[in-house]
C-alpha cells in the first residue's frame, strides 16, 4: 500500500508532508463517516462452458442472510423445466430436508412436497425453447445461527412461450449447524450463459 501523507499547515506538498502513521501519534483515530453496504456480492459463477456443479464454500458467517440469484439452463434431455439441486454443507440425505412448493404451469396450480433439496421444475433443459434461461431467487435465512434449523425459500420460474413453470417453495434443513457451503447442480450440466451469484445481506 502506498504511504498516505498529511499536508502540513505550512509549506508545499513537495516539501512539507508527514507519513500518516506518524501524524496519528498522540491523536485520536479519525473514523470516516461513510455508508457501509448492506447487500454484498460474495461470489459469482459465470458459466462459459458446460459445468456439472457450482459450489460456494467457506461462506463467511458475517452476514445475517444469504441470497442466491440464478439464471440457468442445463443440457439434460428434456423439453420441460427440470429441478435444480441445492445441497447444504454436503448433506445429500433425502431424509433430512423438508420441501414444500406451489407451482403453476399455465393450466394447473398444484402443491407438492418431498424430503429432498430440489428447487422444483424450474430450469430449462436441452429441448426447451432455445436461449431461454431460468430466473431463480433463493433466500437462506439466518444461515450462520447455530441455534436454529435452517429455512430456505425460493421463487423462480422459466416461461418458454407455450410451456414452463412458475414456482415458489420452502426447504427446511433441520440442522443447527451454520451453513458454510452451498452446492448447486442439476440433471445434466449447466450450459454456457448460466450465471449463479451468492450475496450476503447484513443485519444487526
Amino acid at each position: 500500500m502506498s504511504p498516505v501523507y498529511k499536508f502540513s499547515t505550512a509549506g508545499s506538498f513537495a516539501t512539507s508532508r508527514t507519513l500518516y502513521k506518524s501524524a496519528l501519534a498522540g491523536n485520536a483515530v479519525f473514523v470516516p463517516n461513510y455508508t457501509v453496504g448492506a447487500y454484498d456480492s460474495i461470489a459469482t459463477s459465470t458459466i462459459s462452458s458446460t459445468t456439472a456443479t457450482v459450489t460456494f464454500s467457506s461462506i463467511p458467517a458475517t452476514y445475517k442472510h444469504l441470497q442466491l440469484r440464478m439464471s440457468t439452463r442445463t443440457d439434460f434431455a428434456s423439453a420441460t423445466p427440470i429441478d435444480v439441486y441445492l445441497e447444504i454443507n454436503g448433506d445429500t440425505s433425502y431424509t433430512g430436508y423438508r420441501n414444500r412448493r406451489l407451482k403453476g404451469d399455465g393450466s394447473s396450480a398444484t402443491s407438492s412436497s418431498s424430503a429432498s433439496y430440489d428447487i422444483h421444475k424450474i430450469t430449462p433443459a436441452a429441448s426447451s425453447t432455445a436461449s431461454a434461461f431460468s430466473g431463480i431467487v433463493v433466500d437462506l435465512l439466518d444461515y450462520a445461527n447455530t441455534n436454529k434449523n435452517k429455512t430456505v425459500r425460493y421463487l423462480g420460474g422459466a416461461d418458454l412461450n407455450g410451456s414452463g413453470n412458475i414456482v415458489f417453495g420452502s426447504i427446511l434443513w433441520p440442522f443447527t449447524t451454520a451453513v458454510t457451503q452451498i452446492k448447486l447442480s442439476a440433471d445434466g450440466s449447466f450450459v454456457a450463459g448460466s450465471k449463479i451469484a451468492l450475496y450476503g445481506i447484513k443485519g444487526d
Binding site: T35, V36, G37, A38, Y39, D40, S41, I42, A43, T44, T46, P60, R69, M70, S71, L102, K103, G104, D105, G106, S107, S108, A109, T129, S131, A132, F133, S134, G135, V137, L155, G156, G157, A158, D159, L160, N161, G162, G164, N165, I166, F168, G193, K195, A197, Y199, G200
Partner: protein
C-alpha cells in the same frame, strides 16, 4: 472475498402528475440483475404492463399463478406484446416487485420474475420471457386504460456481481 455494496439505486420516479407510463431509459449495463419496485394506484382500475427497449412486437410470454383468497389459479400468455402485472384496484395501494435476470448479456433471452398484489383481490407471481438477446437498456411500465395517480413510486435498482 465480498466485493462491497452491490445493490444500488439507479433511478426513482415519483409521479407528480397523472402519468400513462413511466420509463427508465439509458439503463447502464454494469449490473447483473435489475429489480423494479412499483407502488401506487391508478385513476381507475389499472392493468399495468411492462415492455423492454420499446419492443411492441409479439415477443413476450408469461406464466402466472395467482390467488384471490379462495382459489389458486394459473394462466399463460404466449406471443404477447407485453408482460402483464397484477391488476391495480382503486380500493387501496398496489405493488409490483420484478427481478430482471442477467439483463445486460447479449446472448440469451431475458427472463424475469414478477410478484405483485393489490389490496382487494389478487396476489400474483409471474415468470416471463422476452425473446430477444439484446441487452435491456430501457424499461417502461404502462398503466393501461387509465393513468397512474400522483404519488406513485417507481424505483429501479441494479445488483452487481463479484
Amino acid at each position: 472475498m465480498a466485493a462491497g455494496n452491490t445493490y444500488e439505486a439507479i433511478a426513482t420516479n415519483t409521479t407528480t402528475a397523472l402519468a400513462a407510463s413511466v420509463t427508465f431509459s439509458s439503463i447502464p449495463g454494469t449490473y447483473t440483475d435489475l429489480v423494479l419496485v412499483c407502488e401506487g394506484i391508478g385513476t381507475g382500475d389499472a392493468y399495468p404492463y411492462i415492455q423492454f427497449n420499446g419492443d411492441t412486437g409479439t415477443n413476450y410470454s408469461s406464466t402466472q399463478i395467482y390467488g384471490d383468497g379462495a382459489t389458486a389459479t394459473t394462466s399463460r400468455r404466449t406471443n404477447d406484446s407485453k408482460i402483464d402485472a397484477v391488476i391495480w384496484r382503486t380500493t387501496g395501494r398496489n405493488n409490483i416487485i420484478a427481478n430482471v435476470m442477467n439483463y445486460s448479456n447479449s446472448t440469451t433471452f431475458k427472463t424475469f420474475l414478477m410478484h405483485g398484489n393489490n389490496s382487494s383481490q389478487y396476489v400474483q407471481t409471474t415468470a416471463g420471457l422476452w425473446r430477444n438477446t439484446a441487452a435491456i437498456t430501457s424499461l417502461t411500465v404502462f398503466a393501461q386504460y387509465v393513468n397512474f395517480a400522483v404519488g406513485c413510486n417507481f424505483s429501479l435498482y441494479g445488483i452487481k456481481a463479484a
